[in-house]
Amino acid sequence: MQTLGGEHNNNNNNNNNNNNNNNNNNNNKLPHFFNYPPYFTLQPVRETREKQIQLWKELILDYCRVQKVFRIGLEEDFPLFSNPAIERSLNYEAREAFLSAIVLDGRAEWMDKNHRQCLILWHLIKDWADIILHFVKENGLEDSVMTVEEIRTGIESRGTDIHGMDRGVLMRALKLLENKGKLAIFKGTSTDDEGVKFSV
């Protein structure tokens, strides 16, 4: 997967992520602990649980990055929550524990106080902002105007992490850039019209 943000990917996701052996498998070969039944039960012994959480955190983040998943519903069928081959599923408590750990690392946010929906920031907002800036420069868009949808789904962003990204996350990154004076966001007649004027 060649993306404009290629270097960003590797640098910004080194959150104790030593998955160097498995990082280049974009066909998403799952790690072996995923096939070991006890890993689907939240472990009571602290040291064991800490290791378990660490492994699951890395797997979830990796998966989201490769599959470009931004939102996980804890009561929905997220593929990593079950492994039919060994007939095991994570219960709510385990799901909540693993995602909470990612939230604690600053790489995810709860979208509701009941912890049913989680936003995954496999790039941090500030990193998304950098990626967008890079994208603008690479495509000579320094003084141009684009709609938010064009940024997200237009031809220029194809092949980059920006393409198809979550709109909410994109807006937050754009607002960050607006605060830095790199662009101006203006509203059209409906949300689809929201536009951006770059002054990079």
Binding site: N21, F33, Y36, P38, T48, L55
Partner: protein
């Protein structure tokens, strides 16, 4: 010598005994000297052999193992000190030292998963993976020797046998007999249930639960409540090959 009665006779007998004893000691000394000489010849031949086959010893685990046996027979320990003739000649003192360090590393890295017990086969596999680029291949025999050196340093490393397998223990807590029996039982499927332990070992529920809970606390077991029959299973990473799967992703 003609026996004569009386004191004279006694003195003669005593003198004779002394002479025989002296002769006996001389013969013994001769034998010892001869043995020493043979031994020293053998040792120097062993040294020549080592010099000539240095590369084979370094590169070939099977050859190396046989060499060790030969040395042991003559009372030579090439690993006795890191300096000194053998270590310098073969440089294998360093080899085992290096192995020892890597073994300690692997045991520490996998401890959160297996509680400090790892099966020897798996350890060797991980060691080989780590040493992929190195010119020297590593056998189980090499691992055992490196571990025995670690023992000498008092680092709490030990190889224990459970059922058909050899496990390497890297934590100070020794396996109690009850625990050993459970581990043996677990080798069949990788896990046990309380019921199974009770049934197969004829234990009371209390005894089975206590033992399993202790193993859990020590990090040697993991619980699994996900089976549809609702029975809790206790899995033992040290009898499966999980440590290598899990740890290779973090080493």
């Amino acid at each position: 010598m003609r026996r004569r009665p009386g004191i004279g006779g006694l003195q003669t007998a005593a003198a004779a005994r002394d002479q025989y004893r002296l002769l006996g000691e001389n013969v013994a000394k001769l034998r010892t000297d001869l043995m020493k000489e043979q031994l020293s010849t053998f040792r120097s031949q062993l040294e020549d052999f080592a010099r000539k086959h240095k590369n084979d010893i370094r590169k070939n685990p099977a050859f190396r193992s046989q060499f060790h046996e030969m040395c042991a027979k003559v009372g030579v320990d090439p690993l006795a000190s890191n300096k000194g003739f053998w270590a310098e000649l073969l440089g294998i003192g360093d080899f085992y030292y290096e192995l020892g360090v890597q073994i300690v590393d692997i045991c520490l890295a996998t401890r959160p998963i297996n509680g400090g017990l790892i099966n020897l086969e798996e350890l060797c596999k991980m060691l080989s993976q780590r040493r992929r680029g190195a010119r020297e291949a590593v056998s189980e025999d090499d691992c055992l020797r490196a571990i025995s050196k670690l023992k000498v340093l008092g680092s709490g490393f030990e190889v224990i046998t459970v059922g058909k397998r050899k496990l390497v223990r890297s934590v100070p807590t020794e396996l109690k007999k009850d625990h050993n029996e459970i581990l043996e039982l677990a080798q069949a499927q990788g896990f046990v249930t309380v019921e199974e332990v009770e049934r197969r070992l004829s234990w009371s529920t209390g005894r089975a639960t206590d033992a399993l809970e202790t193993l859990l606390d020590e990090g040697l077991a993991m619980i699994d409540d996900g089976h549809r029959d609702g029975k809790r299973r206790y899995w033992f990473p040290c009898v499966s090959s999980v440590s290598s799967f899990v740890a290779s992703e973090t080493l």
